[in-house]
Structure formats: structure tokens, C-alpha cells
Homo-oligomer: 147 residues x 2
DNA sequence: TTCAATTAAATCGCTTGCGATATAAATTAT
DNA sequence: ATAATTTATATCGCAAGCGATTTAATTGAA
């Protein structure tokens, strides 16, 4: 038996599981808003700065356009964003928030942060722990992303 | 602008991204073995203890059977595991490693741990940091799983 | 200029992950 | 014993992720 190959010793399995479970925790709240978690990520990017290229959004989320394009197409069908071909550079696609997409920010603000706090109320981690966690995750993300 | 809704303030986005990137880092090594990351997880479960029920595997990985069953079916088609109906309880399905599935353990042992160490060589985290990270992730996982 | 690279998105095919439902075998209640 | 319930898996449908390829527009080089 190789202890290196034990599930309990795998940081990757923990990341995989924690990511799934926390996304699941978001899901009921996001369902109320009629969106999925990746759609919520795209909206957060656009709430920070409206009217961005597909590539900008993909880059911000560290995703490829072959993930983002279909995601945006579904979001357009849902009336959350509008996609328009670039005037100067015809290869580009500009993504803009619709009124509906804009208005979701307030609704999200009124439910998501408090909702997540509630989900994690039983978690023994303190503010400082979450800060550490964020730093450690950023280390891993930066290492693997700049390769 | 609601700072609570900024991507940079989201622990969930970090988890989501770190999980994706570290899985991507595994992928070339796993390709060499002819398996995917979730299949690797199943194999680790069976390497720890061969011959388990679908439910045991799902429970160990914190997944549902509607994820694990098709995964196992694909693995059976690849000749990694065998699925047999339970003799005593006809509802159960027993999952066993094939010779091929067994032998992958040595191959994995010879390539994966060293390969991942190499991928993360540039990461500033030390042994103690990874320990902390594991504890923090376990806190989150336990909190969200026991709800 | 003209044709070969580059770039931005989109498309395709496949595996996951998961909510919802179905199937079928065992257990429990009446 | 028979019907209702529970349990173990499986099936279905859809949204992601992503490797690989394609399309179309722009840039660059000869």
C-alpha cells in the first residue's frame, strides 16, 4: 500500500470536494435568482465592469473560450447578457449586461453573502483562517497558472 | 459596487479555480495511464480496499450514485474494473479491480507523486502550509457535508 | 499586393456532476 | 402473505469543462 496514493493524503481531492460542496451550497440561492454558479461568476465579472470581450471574461475566470462561449450563449438566451460583434475588430464579441442582468446584482447582494454566512455558520474557521486559506489557494493558483 | 460580490473576495471562486487547475496539472500524467481524474479517485478508493459496493465508493468520494454509476460503467468498458450483481442482495453492485486496474497502482506510484511535486515546485507553500490547507479544507468539507 | 501567420470566437465530442425520476429487490407493516 | 415502504442502482436530461478543430477577421511578411 502506497500512502502517497491514499485519498486522505491528497490535497487535490480536498480541493475537488470542497469546491463541489461549496458550489452546491450556493445552488439553492442561485436557483432563486435563476442562474447557475458559473453564470454567477460571469455576472460578477460584468458587475465589476460592464461591456467586456469574451476573452476578457475568460481570462478573468481562468477559463478557455470553449467554456465561456457556450456559457454566454445560454446566458443570452436567458436574457442576462447581450452579445454583439465588435465594430472595429470583427473577430471580437462584446458582452454587455441586460437590464435583467444588471438588476440581479441587488438581488444577489441581498441574499447571497448572508446566505453563505449561514451555510458556513457551523464552520470553526475564523476570519484569519479564511485569509490564510485565500493566500494558500492563491499560491497554488498562481503557480499552476503561470506555467 | 458591492465589495462582497467581487470575485477577488470569493473563497468559492478560489476553490473552484484551484480545483480546476490542479486537476489540469494531473491530466497529462493521468493521460499516460489512460485514465481521467475522477477515474483515478475511484481507483484510489479500490486500491485501498478492493471489492466495494457502488454506494461505498460514492460515499467515500462524497458523490452520488448518479455520478458514480456511469463513471464505473465507463471504467468497466475500459477494462479497469468489473461490476457484478450482489449474490445475497440483488440490488447491490460489487465493484472489483481487474488485473489492469490493479497494475495501474504501481504505474501511478512511479509517476504521479513525483510529477505533482514537480508541478508545484515553484509554489512557495511549505509542508506546514499544506497541512494547514488540508485542515481548513476539511473544516469546510465537514461543515457542508454534515448539513 | 498577396499570401502566409496570427488572433478571437465558435463548434464538436466526450466526461463529469447533479437534480429528478425510474427500476427492481429487500424490508416492514398490516 | 400481501401491500406499502425503503433501499441500491440505474437512467435521463442538461450545464459545465476542456482538448481538438474550425471559421473568420486581422496582421505581417515577402
Amino acid at each position: 500500500m502506497h500512502t502517497e496514493l491514499q485519498l486522505d493524503n491528497q490535497i487535490c481531492f480536498r480541493l475537488y470536494t470542497a469546491a463541489r460542496l461549496i458550489t452546491q451550497a450556493y445552488t439553492p440561492m442561485l436557483n432563486t435568482l435563476g442562474i447557475t454558479y458559473p453564470q454567477y461568476l460571469v455576472l460578477m465579472v460584468l458587475w465589476e465592469k460592464d461591456c467586456q470581450l469574451v476573452n476578457d471574461i475568460a481570462h478573468r475566470l481562468l477559463l478557455e473560450t470553449n467554456t465561456v462561449t457556450p456559457l454566454l450563449q445560454r446566458m443570452e438566451k436567458e436574457g442576462l447578457v447581450k452579445r454583439t460583434k465588435g465594430k472595429e475588430d470583427g473577430r471580437q464579441t462584446l458582452v454587455t449586461l441586460t437590464k435583467k442582468g444588471c438588476e440581479l446584482e441587488e438581488q444577489a447582494y441581498n441574499s447571497i453573502p448572508a446566505g453563505m454566512a449561514k451555510e458556513l455558520r457551523a464552520c470553526p474557521l475564523k476570519f484569519k483562517d479564511y485569509e490564510h486559506l485565500a493566500e494558500e489557494l492563491d499560491s497554488i493558483i498562481n503557480t499552476l497558472n503561470n506555467k
